[in-house]
């Protein structure tokens, strides 16, 4: 397991990942990262850097080294193959064709 890309212990200000909710009704989406000495300034910097044109109504910041990610090298083993499992999708079931509201 590893943290988000780009973190470096050598830097004076740590890296934060920024998530913005563009409008009510949709979830926060990752928009990028920034440097800040603490959480308060990270939120302010995120506002100045990523919402200069009304791009969001809410901002989350997360220290990049606090994020745990899956290991991309283990892609094949970690994410189960969907092959042969099309019964997880509605389109697999064809016998009900023509029946309404199904």
């Amino acid at each position: 397991m590893m943290s988000a890309p780009g973190t470096s212990e050598k830097e004076i200000w740590p890296l934060w990942e920024v998530f913005v909710r563009a409008s009510r009704g949709i979830s926060h989406t990752h928009v990028g990262s920034l440097h800040a000495p603490d959480a308060t300034l990270a939120v302010r910097n995120a506002r100045d850097l990523y919402t200069r044109r009304g791009e969001g109504v809410s901002v989350w910041v997360v220290p990049a080294d606090a994020i745990t990610t899956s290991d991309p090298d283990a892609k094949g083993a970690f994410f189960e193959s969907p092959a042969g499992k099309n019964y997880r999708h509605a389109s697999y079931y064809s016998k009900s064709e023509g029946v309404k509201h199904l």
């Binding site: 890309p5 780009g6 470096s8 830097e11 990262s33 603490d38 090298d73």
Partner: protein, 329 residues
């Protein structure tokens, strides 16, 4: 730009054993998919990207200076507010790009250090001075216009974080070009002295703007590799040609003359033929001998050094707060 040719070439067909990871990388590129930060990538691909993205970020940051020069002297409050918003955007673009480069394993501090030590490049265009208000118009129209021409295809660059940063930048950059065009248009509708000032600015910025696309294709050693990797989508000359094609009708609307006596439409190629670009000047400026190189770098170095105590104090404060929080808990 003019860094020496990479000592790497495309692997000769079937002559080398390709690892499984490299095979996957090649497949992704061939499918015009995207490479993401933790994917395996050839060292030369990583190096090319760090160089290109950090040069690009440095250009945004240094590019704040010629315009910041006019904030205090903008002719109206509205113009001052617009100019501040534009300079703030340039800072933002620099930060998006440093973040994108950072995902490749080079920290922003390292990139900043390389810039202020004079070891990293930035676009040659920012080494020209901006002595008149009309320069704000010419920079917006020609310099930002050339930048947009270069940057739109980069939104599809094969490296995910770079492409995403460019999408954001291109959205914001279009306001820059239009506001520059408006400044020139207002001057061209003004007094004879104002018209003269606008024409003078266009005369000074036109050729350096054409140089922003980089050396001609037959003298651009890295281009072929960058295109094979889907970082670059069009050659320097193709983009330059496209830019000139857009400029000519816009110059007519403005009523300014583009300072190229050899510029004329070629019915056969359906393109504009243009005069020779002074590449000696381009290489001189890149080598540090442009009109404002020393001033730009010195200003950047001072800003960094004078801000050091703020960065350190903020960290000390954050540490103290964290210790206090643990003590209470």
């Amino acid at each position: 730009m003019t860094t020496p040719a990479e000592p790497y070439a495309l692997p000769a067909e079937a002559s080398v054993e390709v690892s499984a990871e490299e095979h996957q990388f090649n497949e992704l590129i061939a499918a015009d998919s995207r490479i993401e930060p933790r994917d395996w990538m050839p060292e030369a691909y990583r190096k090319t990207l760090v160089r290109q993205i950090s040069q690009h970020a440095n250009s945004e940051i240094i590019g704040m200076q010629p315009e910041a020069n006019w904030i205090t002297r903008a002719p109206s409050l509205k113009r001052k507010a617009i100019l501040m918003a534009k300079v703030q955007d340039e800072a933002g673009h620099g930060l998006y790009l440093y973040s994108a480069a950072q995902t490749l394993g080079t920290s922003r501090d390292e990139m900043t250090d390389a810039l202020i030590a004079g070891k990293a490049r930035y676009s040659s265009i920012f080494n020209y001075p901006s002595p008149t208000w009309a320069d704000m118009g010419a920079i917006g129209w020609l310099v930002d216009g050339a930048a947009i021409c270069n940057q739109v295809p980069l939104c599809r660059a094969s490296y995910g974080p770079y492409g995403r940063a460019m999408v954001r930048i291109c959205k914001e950059e279009s306001f820059h070009q239009r506001q520059g065009f408006e400044i020139l248009l207002e001057l061209m509708n003004g007094t004879p002295a104002q018209r003269e000032m606008a024409q003078d600015a266009v005369n000074r910025w036109y050729w350096p703007a054409l140089q922003m696309f980089g050396p001609p294709d037959n003298d651009s050693p890295n281009s072929a590799q960058s295109m094979a990797w889907n970082i670059k989508r069009f050659s320097n000359d193709e983009l330059r040609q496209r830019f000139v094609g857009m400029c000519v009708p816009q110059a007519e609307v403005l009523g300014v003359t583009l300072p190229d006596p050899d510029l004329r439409y070629n019915e056969e190629t359906k393109q504009y033929d243009m005069g020779e670009i002074d590449w000696t000047e381009f290489h001189e400026v890149l080598a540090g001998r442009g009109p404002a190189n020393a001033r730009r770098l010195q200003r950047r170095r001072e800003a960094h050094e004078e801000g050091a105590w703020v960065r350190e104090a903020a960290v000390a404060y954050a540490r103290k707060q964290a210790v206090a929080a643990t003590a209470v808990a």
